[in-house]
């Protein structure tokens, strides 16, 4: 472990969820180790990996939790979502059923995760153009309706993988750092009490979507 890796300003826990076989583990390995395994088996138990990125000159360490799609309702469920500030909800653009199940995963998040958790809908396997079963526009519209960020990725050819993590971590960072401005350690604030932060999701939403289009 390099010393650079040990120091960070923020530690964010992000969970990967979505049906079995949509490529969660390969997204994780692509992002954290730049590896991809075409013959990967179903994940056993929960896997953890970390990677640090820079946002606004701050080091943000992402601690990413990944588990097999079938692992929910297990002993680990509560612990899996506890403390998570971001979720990548992954589906397979070539398997419509995995997209239909997104709603179920959203429900699971509502039941177990923090209400402010930042959710990004990720259509993975975008390299399978010829087999596409979920239209980009359809998924994007769904994401907008539900206040989610949206991106299409390919863990196989690396398209947008870093960007997906970068975007969700930036979004979390914006929310969390804004909260910190609200309660500065010195207490020399002139803001009135009881100020609630303004939800910045819409801006970030369009931001991430725009970036995605420009690729």
């Amino acid at each position: 472990m390099s010393s650079k890796d040990d120091e960070y300003d923020y530690l964010f826990k992000v969970v990967l969820i979505g049906d079995s076989g949509v490529g969660k583990s390969n997204l994780l390995s692509r992002f954290t180790r730049n590896e991809f395994n075409l013959e990967s088996k179903s994940t056993i138990g929960v896997e953890f990996a970390t990677r640090s990125i820079q946002v606004d000159g701050k080091t943000i360490k992402a601690q990413i939790w990944d588990t097999a799609g079938q692992e929910r309702y297990r002993a680990i469920t509560a612990a899996y979502y506890r403390g998570a500030v971001g979720a990548l909800l992954v589906y397979d653009i070539a398997k419509h059923l995995t997209y239909e199940n997104v709603e179920r995963w959203l429900r699971e998040l509502r039941d177990h995760a923090d209400q402010n958790i930042v959710i990004m809908l990720v259509g993975n396997k975008s390299d399978l153009r010829h087999l596409r079963a979920v239209l980009t526009e359809e998924a994007k519209a769904f994401a907008e309706r539900n206040g989610l960020s949206f991106i299409e990725t390919s863990a196989l050819d690396s398209t947008n993988v870093d960007l997906a993590f970068q975007n969700i971590l930036t979004e979390i960072y914006r929310i969390v750092s804004q909260k910190q401005i609200r309660d500065p350690p010195e207490g020399d604030t002139i803001r009135p009490q009881n100020v609630e932060p303004i939800d910045v999701k819409p801006t970030m939403n369009s931001d991430s979507v725009r970036k995605q289009c420009c690729q």
Binding site: I44, G45, F48, T50, Q63, Q70, I76
Partner: protein, 553 residues
């Protein structure tokens, strides 16, 4: 020109046609406005009502000075990075602070289990008004009340609660005893009892645990966790002076109790342990008593546990029948074996449980994780082999805590290596038993955790390949080194992945993540402890959940 006028004319007609529609619309909007105003008012009123009832219920309850109760909505700041505020229904009862999402919700979360170890203080520098902080040894919670009044009420109630709770323990034992008597006599069911199933109450319930193991003083509030006994404060002081290799002293009421240690305590207890450590007390020896001078107390305890003067030695044991429960000798007296299961206590326990409400099912479940083979005994050994070390080994292997206790009393070596059995130590044998308790018992008595047998396997290796999740959890909790390689160059994680034990894989990986994070952050540790706690709770409440099929992923 003509076309133009017709066009405008038609336009005017169209507008006139629309006029009634617009009027209707305006009317509807007006009606709606009135209605919303009404609803708003109603809501305000009902809100007022709600806070009124909250305050009144609070008031009438705090008048009852003995056990302050208070419930109502508070805002709670989440502990994750967002630090958001959630409105939750909190209530205070029985030394606990508990909350739910809504007042009628079934599911409740315990915020603080034991208010005696907490303090409350107002938070004035926060960004919100009416905030107060509850500080416990492990966590801080920030809560916000709706108004100044409620803020005062909560702080007062919590402080009173803490005060009352501390006073309450002084008298709890007498209460407990009388309660048991009551239920014996009349079958009188006390609702409060089901609510208060705290660790120490389970322990104190055990027959013989109502008095100090050494001087018989009433209301013992201390325990020696490696010996499995409860003690009065004076004897606990002497035990402490013996050093932790002889006796690990904990407070029943003030310390945190891990579920597996509680379980072990309830399997042993004063009666069982004294049967062994006071098997033959000569007349000449002055036993310690409630009011005896310190020197006698010290002398007695030292002789009993350090010099082990009153323990029967092996040859005497073989002639007497005192071990007959656990150790079975063949009729010709040259073969012996250890009976499986620590059931000698069961009879006593059943008596206690029929009187009270301890959940017996859970205790049996762990007892029998892997047992129930046709043969209920460990392998036979010839009598010449009978040595305290081997006795401990065999007892651990067959999950017989009482024989283990006997072996400890006989001075068995916790880290003795059994050359007959792959150079394994008792802890390896305990893993084979499939149960957590013999492992806990050995660990508390100083068995080494990372020893390797002749195949290079540590107890963690064995527990992993046997698929004993609860044991893996225990070893990780005791900070086992999971990077030790066996002779095939495998670490436990490799074994777990090969065998597809999902929960064990998770636990081991989590342990690694924790090691990685521990260097610079405390949060990693907290998270690890959280998950491990989840697992150990499961292991004790729903062990079947951990017994997943191999390909059940």
């Amino acid at each position: 020109m003509h076309a133009c006028t017709t066009y405008y004319h038609q336009g005017e007609d169209l507008c006139e046609d629309l006029q009634p529609f617009f009027k209707k619309l305006a009317n509807e909007i007006a009606v709606m406005r009135v209605e919303t105003n009404k609803v708003e008012k109603e809501l305000e009123n009902s809100h007022g009502l709600v806070s009124d009832t909250e305050i009144t219920s609070a008031l009438c309850n705090s008048a009852d000075k003995k056990s302050p109760k208070l419930e109502g909505y508070l805002f709670k700041r989440t502990s994750n990075a967002f630090k958001t505020w959630n409105r939750r229904w909190f209530y205070l009862f029985d030394n606990k602070l508990v909350y739910r999402r809504r007042s009628g919700d079934e599911h409740e979360t315990v915020m603080e289990d034991d208010l005696r170890i907490c303090t409350v203080k107002p938070v004035t520098d926060g960004e919100r008004r009416f905030c107060f902080e509850i500080v416990s040894p492990s966590k801080n919670h920030i809560l916000q009340a709706d108004s100044e009044d409620m803020f005062q009420l909560w702080i007062e109630a919590l402080q009173k609660g803490i005060g009352a709770a501390i006073q309450k323990i002084q008298s709890i034992d007498i209460q407990k005893n009388t309660e048991i008597n009551k239920s014996e006599n009349s079958g009188f069911d006390n609702n409060n009892k089901t609510k208060s199933k705290r660790a120490w109450e389970q322990i104190i319930k055990l027959p013989g645990n109502n008095v100090c193991a050494d001087c018989k003083a009433h209301r013992p509030q201390w325990a020696s966790i490696n010996l499995g006994i409860v003690l009065c404060i004076d004897c606990s002081g002497v035990h402490r002076s013996l050093g932790v290799h002889h006796s690990k002293v904990r407070s029943l009421t003030l310390d945190d109790w891990e579920p597996e240690v509680v379980k072990l305590m309830t399997e042993l207890g004063n009666t069982v342990v004294n049967k062994i450590y006071e098997a033959k007390v000569p007349e000449s020896i002055q036993k310690a008593s409630d009011q005896c001078p310190g020197t006698i107390r010290e002398d007695w305890i030292r002789k009993k546990y350090v010099e082990k003067l009153f323990v029967m030695d092996l040859s005497e044991l073989l002639q007497s029948d005192s071990l007959s429960d656990g150790l079975c000798l063949n009729s010709n007296k040259d073969k012996w074996r250890v009976k499986k299961g620590a059931k000698a206590n069961e009879v006593l326990k059943n008596q206690a449980e029929s009187e009270s409400d301890c959940d017996e099912n859970s205790s049996c479940d762990i007892n029998q994780q892997t047992e129930e083979e046709d043969n209920n005994y460990g392998a036979e050994e010839t009598i010449e082999n009978l040595h305290s070390n081997l006795l401990l080994y065999k007892a651990a292997e067959s999950y017989n805590l009482i024989v283990m206790c006997q072996a400890f009393a006989l001075g068995a070596e916790k880290s003795w290596t059994n050359e007959q059995d792959k150079n394994r130590q008792p802890l390896h044998a305990a893993v084979i038993s499939g149960s957590v308790l013999p492992c806990v018992y050995l660990l508390l008595n100083g068995a080494r955790l990372n020893v390797q047998d002749q195949d290079g396997k540590t107890p963690l290796h064995l527990a992993t390949s046997e698929g004993h999740t609860a044991q893996v959890c225990l070893f990780l909790k005791y900070r086992a080194d999971q990077h030790v390689k066996d002779n095939e160059d495998k670490v436990p994680l490799t074994l777990a992945e090969e065998k597809e034990h999902a929960d064990i894989v998770t636990l081991l990986r989590l342990g690694r993540l924790n090691e990685e994070m521990r260097d610079n952050e405390t949060t990693g540790d907290e998270m690890f402890n959280d998950v491990v706690r989840d697992f150990s709770r499961l292991a004790y409440s729903n062990p079947e959940k951990l017994q997943r099929q191999k390909y059940d992923v």
